[in-house]
């Protein structure tokens, strides 16, 4: 009876520790061999002080999409590598969401120097949205150098998150209307700050920093 109680107590303790409880999702949704590989990557991340959730999310995404073990492990390890590079570029105080955005920007083709430059230009402000917009611009065909210059230009002028999101929307609109991506990014980066009120913390109104998905087939509208 005592042994049974102690075993139950040990199980409850394991479940009560978030870092360990998360691993149960891996075991529940991946085959044992894949789960072991993912746990190895998680151990590496833990040792490096990197967030575990993005890696778990990537593994669970692969499981939900029916990906092979090899693809899941490769995706997790690639993300681990980019998270590590992003952590080095953004510094020890980077938040998890900043590291995720940084890893994505690196995956898109940005280099570590770009991440560090954006971090420096923001002077203590979060860099999640600038890095995300950088990635989105590259994904829309803007050359990495042009995207970097556009985002850095806004960051150096004290733009807020809503301004970066507006830059992306405007560039997308210009590209849809036929503008070359590099030129669209350059023009919009030069033009947007002039719309900011003098000394204003940002042109974005309440809620404008949060995108809202749009009905299928329509442009993404800003939040009211």
């Amino acid at each position: 009876m005592t042994r049974l109680l102690l075993s139950a107590l040990a199980l409850a303790t394991i479940a009560a520790v978030p870092g360990l409880a998360q691993d149960t999702r891996i075991d529940a949704r991946l085959d044992p061999a894949t789960a072991a590989e993912v746990r190895s990557a998680l151990a590496t991340a833990r040792n490096q002080g990197l967030p575990l959730e993005p890696l778990i999310d990537r593994a669970l995404e692969g499981a939900s999409k029916g990906a092979s073990s090899g693809r899941i492990v490769a995706a997790v390890r690639a993300l681990l590598n980019n998270l590590s590079r992003a952590a080095q570029a953004l510094g020890p105080d980077a938040a998890e969401r900043e590291l995720v955005a940084g890893a994505e920007a690196l995956r898109a083709g940005a280099d570590s120097a770009t991440l560090a430059a954006i971090r420096g230009a923001r002077r203590g402000e979060p860099v999640t949205v600038p890095l995300g917009v950088l990635t989105d611009l590259v994904a829309r065909g803007v050359p990495a150098d042009a995207a970097r210059e556009a985002v850095l230009a806004l960051a150096r002028r004290g733009a807020r998150d809503g301004d970066f999101l507006a830059l992306r929307r405007n560039v997308e609109r210009d590209i849809q209307q036929g503008a070359p991506p590099a030129i669209a990014a350059s023009v919009r980066a030069r033009g947007l700050p002039s719309t900011l009120p003098p000394g204003a913390p940002g042109a974005a109104g309440p809620g404008a920093t949060t995108e809202r998905t749009a009905p299928a087939g329509t442009a993404t509208p800003p939040r009211p």
Partner: protein, 193 residues
């Protein structure tokens, strides 16, 4: 005052009074065993007392109470583990109420008249295909759900009729495509609100 014993009783008394034979060196063995015992109050004595087996008596009601407590603890841990990251809690009206985090309601909308079911999957719900069902509104073919999200960048997709993955056509496409089914990107800013 003396009393003469019955012969049978006298033999029994004699047997009981006889000292048992513990063999040569019994006293030395006893003293060696005593010296081997840890001194009271020392760490080794404390450790030895922890390792010493004991019998524990517990009533059926007590065992039931302990088991119920453990189950409650485990269930609570699972719930916390699944929601701690973003503090997502679907209360009345889908309004976030989690943990003081800076949550903002984000509405996901999809027009898909032919769909029978639409669910939302992404980084915010462990990519569980059954996680967040969209509700069909009064307008024909318009599906929507509102999710409270903390600032950050999220990858997500819709699942149509439980089988077909469908990227949001009204949102940026994720640049990575590790698993052959493209995702959309949602960015929730931290400033300006």
């Amino acid at each position: 005052m003396s009393e003469e014993l019955d012969p049978v009783v006298a033999r029994a008394v004699a047997v009981l009074k006889a000292e048992p034979d513990f063999g040569a060196g019994f006293d030395r063995r006893v003293m060696d065993a005593v010296r081997a015992e840890p001194r009271p109050g020392t760490v080794s004595a404390w450790w030895a007392s922890l390792r010493r087996p004991r019998e524990v008596s517990i009533s059926p009601l007590g065992a039931f109470a302990i088991a119920a407590g453990l189950v409650a603890l485990m269930l609570g841990s699972v719930i916390v583990a699944s929601s701690w990251r973003f503090g997502i809690e679907q209360g009345a009206g889908g309004v976030a109420s989690g943990g003081g985090a800076d949550l903002r309601p984000v509405q996901f909308v999809l027009i898909m008249p032919e769909a029978r079911t639409v669910t939302l999957v992404g980084d915010f719900n462990d990519w569980e295909p059954d996680g967040l069902p969209l509700q069909r509104s009064a307008a024909e073919g318009v599906w929507s759900v509102t999710v409270p999200l903390a600032p950050g960048r999220y990858r997500y997709s819709f699942v149509i009729d439980g089988t077909r993955w469908y990227a949001d056509p009204g949102a940026p496409r994720a640049i990575e495509d590790d698993f052959g089914r493209p995702n959309s990107i949602l960015t929730v800013g931290e400033q300006g609100s």
